[in-house]
């Protein structure tokens, strides 16, 4: 690797060759989210590229069906946590403790945990998890501290297709900005599920959506719980038999409940390798990194395309306009509302204001009546100086973050 760090780059004129960069790579604290098909490959490649401060988080345990493409697991590991087995395998292989495992849900860790890393590489199979990660890291950015921005390299595959994204939270398009591009979760009309199933998927949906809450009142169906999935499988199978439908399997049931498209080892390898190269380039600066979306399409011959996904100005997570207003703490909420209506950068018509509580809601009548007394209150009675209010208005696509600073 060193030859890349000690020579000038033809494509990155600002790059200053530096023999110490390999130490810099070894010291960089990187978080890998997901230790499945992508995660195993990502971990291996990170270590082979010189990273030595790696943490991996994954809530899954190893299933027999994982062994064909998740290269760090063996038969004897079935049932054990993926993160731990992957970390142990690599640490043993290189005789050094380079990976720390976290057998957790990503949501179980707080901002404090995520703040310790410099860069994140994601190998996830669920949109919801990706959305959560992206929102967490956007929210973590402190405008006065550039190092609070942690680049996320997000890899994903679906069969022969895959993509790599470089997300620089608040700087370029976040996960939410791109939400219109994501293939929608397939849902079936509930009436079809209830009355006229034709596909094995209909029977699985019937078992998981209709029958599960009926039989297991109050218990949430967990697609990672093998007993839960056995129940869904056998219930769906019975239903399928009654309607002369074939093709129900346990892994199909898991796929439908989790909404997963089967993964292929080689696509995982291509996408993971590309993710790690981007991580290396971002950390060292030795060559320009991906800006910001690489699409790999392997199902119609082979085709790859790189483009810049634009940040959405009205994105609910990262794109909201922020406005600061300075007023006396003794003005009333009503006066503040008049003030923001005539404010040139806002030009609102019927603003509704909230902190984590309702300040004033224009509708429905129930909330309007309850929040109306606040209009006559002075601001200091309602919130502290430098509070951030979420303002919505029919004339805004989404919302404005309004920071109110008291002048007295």
């Amino acid at each position: 690797m060193n030859s890349f760090y000690t020579q000038p780059s033809a494509f990155e004129p600002d790059f200053v060759p530096d023999a110490n960069l390999s130490d810099r790579v070894a010291e960089t604290k990187v978080l890998v989210i997901g230790a499945g098909g992508l995660g195993c490959e990502i971990l291996k490649n990170l270590v082979l590229s010189g990273f030595e401060q790696i943490h991996v988080i994954d809530m899954d345990t190893i299933d027999v069906t994982n062994l064909n493409r998740q290269s760090l697991f063996r038969d004897a590991d079935v049932g054990k946590p993926k993160a731990q087995v992957a970390a142990e395998f690599v640490n043993t292989r290189v005789s050094k403790n380079v990976i720390t495992a976290h057998y957790n849900r990503i949501q179980d860790k707080d901002e404090e945990f995520y703040r310790q890393f410099e860069i994140v590489v994601c190998g996830l199979d669920s949109l919801d998890a990706r959305r959560w990660v992206s929102a967490m890291f956007v929210n973590m950015v402190d405008e006065s501290d550039p190092s609070s921005l942690k680049p996320i390299i997000d890899g994903g595959t679906e069969g022969f297709k895959g993509q790599v994204r470089v997300i620089l939270p608040t700087l370029n398009a976040c996960h939410e900005c791109a939400s219109s591009m994501h293939s929608k979760k397939v849902t079936y009309p509930i009436c079809t599920i209830a009355n006229t199933p034709r596909l094995p998927e209909h029977c699985i949906e019937w078992a998981s959506v209709v029958q599960w809450p009926k039989v297991h009142e109050g218990l949430k169906l967990d697609a990672d719980n093998i007993e839960h999935m056995q129940w869904v499988y056998s219930t769906a199978l019975k239903r399928a038999d009654e309607h002369g439908i074939s093709g129900i399997t346990l892994s199909l049931a898991q796929g439908v409940v989790k909404n997963i498209i089967p993964a292929i080892a080689s696509t995982n390898a291509i996408i993971s390798a590309s993710c790690v190269n981007e991580a290396l380039k971002i950390v060292t600066g030795c060559h320009p990194y991906l800006n910001n979306y690489m699409l790999y399409v392997g199902d119609s011959s082979v085709y790859s395309h790189t483009f810049e996904l634009e940040k959405k100005e009205d994105c609910l997570v990262c794109g909201n306009a922020k406005v600061t207003i300075e007023v006396s703490k003794t003005i009333t909420l009503e006066e503040l509302i008049e003030e923001i209506k005539i404010n040139n950068s806002l030009q609102l018509k019927k603003p509704s204001l909230r902190t984590d509580k309702n300040l004033y809601m224009q509708a429905p009548p129930f909330l309007e009546v309850k929040s109306r007394p606040n209009l006559k209150k002075q601001l200091y009675e309602l919130f502290e100086s430098n509070s951030t209010l979420t303002v919505t208005d029919p004339s805004l696509m989404t919302s404005v973050s309004l920071t109110v600073t008291f002048t007295d």
Binding site: S352, F366, T390, T392
Partner: protein, 177 residues
């Protein structure tokens, strides 16, 4: 890394940042504060500071279900508006598109939901189910076939069930006021 941080520094001076509230909460604040509903639909909050949970009452002013007062519990997930609102009828009612457990068959609550739709469109759609029950999308098959084959008998059964009584071994909630 240095390059990324340099870009961030540059941008920080441009004064564009993000809000502190979650995307779901911002979006539901917008949806709720811009509700424009007919007097036949009302919405209340068990805890007014929590906009993610609320109750809706529909009082149809015409149609088979006139004079009834139908109660629904809504819950909005942290994935809103990617996921539709969850809607449950809290009464046992006789309706082709609502089963006896309160599940509702409305296309925009499931397969036809799109994030550009909002709470207002869901509430209007829900009210429409009472004005025009749809026998082609049944959840309560018996009620649907009654509506299709014997309108007079369907109307009678609706009226009886709304008064709160046993019909075919099911006790229907009294929904008339």
């Amino acid at each position: 890394m240095l390059k990324v941080w340099k870009m961030k520094k540059q941008q920080a001076s441009d004064e564009k940042t993000k809000p502190r509230n979650s995307a779901a909460k911002i979006r539901i604040q917008k949806d709720i504060s811009e509700l424009d509903l007919p007097s036949s639909i009302s919405i209340t909050f068990p805890n007014e500071e929590d906009l993610l949970k609320f109750e809706v009452v529909i009082k149809p002013d015409e149609g088979y279900y006139k004079n009834g007062s139908f109660h629904f519990r809504f819950s909005i997930s942290e994935n809103y508006p990617h996921d539709p609102p969850k809607v449950q009828c809290t009464q046992t009612i006789y309706h082709p598109n609502i089963d006896l457990e309160g599940k509702v068959c409305l296309n925009i609550l499931r397969e036809d939901w799109k994030p550009v739709l909002n709470l207002n469109s869901v509430l209007i759609g829900l009210q429409f189910l009472f004005l025009e029950p749809n026998p082609d999308d049944p959840l309560n098959k018996e009620a649907a076939s009654e509506l299709r084959s014997n309108l007079q008998s369907f109307k009678r059964k609706v009226t009886r069930s709304m008064g709160g009584e046993y019909m075919d071994n099911v006790y229907y909630t009294k929904v008339t006021v």
